[in-house]
Subunit: 191 residues, 2 copies
DNA sequence: TTCTTTTCCGTACGACTGTGCGACTAAAGG
DNA sequence: CCTTTAGTCGCACAGTCGTACGGAAAAGAA
């Protein structure tokens, strides 16, 4: 067995290349050849671990949900209650380059999934991660006295978070603290 | 001068075809050949009035802003204050097939414009229409006593409207009055 | 009728796409 | 040394893309 390939590292490199291509050229440009070029591979080499374009798409969107839930799980253990809610929700917004990349891929696939039903289960799973973070943020912010009808609050917060993410991507000429302020007011309104 | 072409009717037909293609197959499939087929034209005939793919894209996104502002302007004249604000904001949500089509095209171009800077001025103009409707809704809901700092409220409402639109597209399995309820609560919170 | 102008469309070209296939290379076991 | 095997990659095929070009068709003007 020669030249053992670190499959996980290869996956990470290719997925990162796919994200870069999506962010720079749009999801239309997510082609085997472009991803391979971005990753520094020959297209035929890329196909050794990603046998088809569909696999590239699938792993790229799955990686978004893994990154999101991983980052929320890695929040400082000391955070509780409203502080945790605030920090968790901010992990869902494109407030730095890394989060911007993730949200760009997330929303691009969300629109793509509208027309490509093979993408829907994967994207819905990622969407469910976001929704779950929102739900836990509501619980945390409300304190122990939770329960009741979380439906309207959750729908509203979830829509607001995705709307904020979209606006931060598409209208980056905002002053810095804007989105945080909106989140803070939303948390206030929960009480 | 033979066979006089109704340029406006042709434009409408082609733009509608482009919208249908985007809604059914995604913005990746917005090709000259597919739009022509959807419009019942030969690709070469389409190019007589739409000389390039870029023109198709441009007219398709411009038409969104025209439809949106036209529909808001056509609201019953009797509506004022909060009732007008509610009705105007609901025109920005995909609550029927026509509005769904418009918002699907609007958001698809919004993501596409992230990677195609030639699309940005046109999409920003459409975004400005949405934002203007939000601003006027805030004024109307607040009553005559307007002025002051509309900034945070506007940013928040605008993000909420686009987030609601996105969620209605992508998670259509909601009970009916959900989005209206969210809008009503948002209008309440303005007072 | 013939002309003239507008509209339509068939055809072709080069570029790019996803994918299949087979040859090649490099390293570990014998 | 040779063999085996995981990994790399060149090449080719068929399909689609945007676009250019030139001729056919249609209808009012003469």
């Amino acid at each position: 067995m020669p030249r053992i390939l670190d499959a996980a590292a290869r996956d990470r490199a290719v997925i990162d290349a796919a994200w870069q291509v999506i962010a720079r050229e749009g999801i239309t440009a997510l082609t085997v050849r472009r991803v391979a070029a971005q990753a520094g591979l020959a297209p035929s080499s890329l196909r050794y671990t990603f046998p088809s374009q569909a696999v590239v798409r699938e792993k790229a969107i799955i990686a978004v949900s893994e990154h999101l839930s991983g980052r929320v799980a890695a929040l400082p253990a000391g955070l509780t209650g409203r502080a945790w809610a605030r920090a968790a929700l901010l992990e869902l917004l494109p407030l730095d380059q890394q989060r911007r990349l993730e949200m760009e891929v997330f929303l691009a696939f969300g629109m793509a999934a509208l027309a490509d039903e093979t993408l829907q289960p994967l994207w819905n799973a990622t969407d469910a991660v976001v929704r779950d973070v929102c739900a836990r943020a509501i619980e945390a912010a409300k304190g122990e006295a939770a329960g009741g009808e979380a439906g309207p609050h959750l729908d509203r917060l979830h829509a607001l978070v995705d709307g904020l993410a979209f606006h931060l991507l598409v209208r980056p000429d905002q002053q810095d603290g804007w989105a945080q302020t909106v989140i803070d007011r939303e948390l206030d309104s929960l009480l």
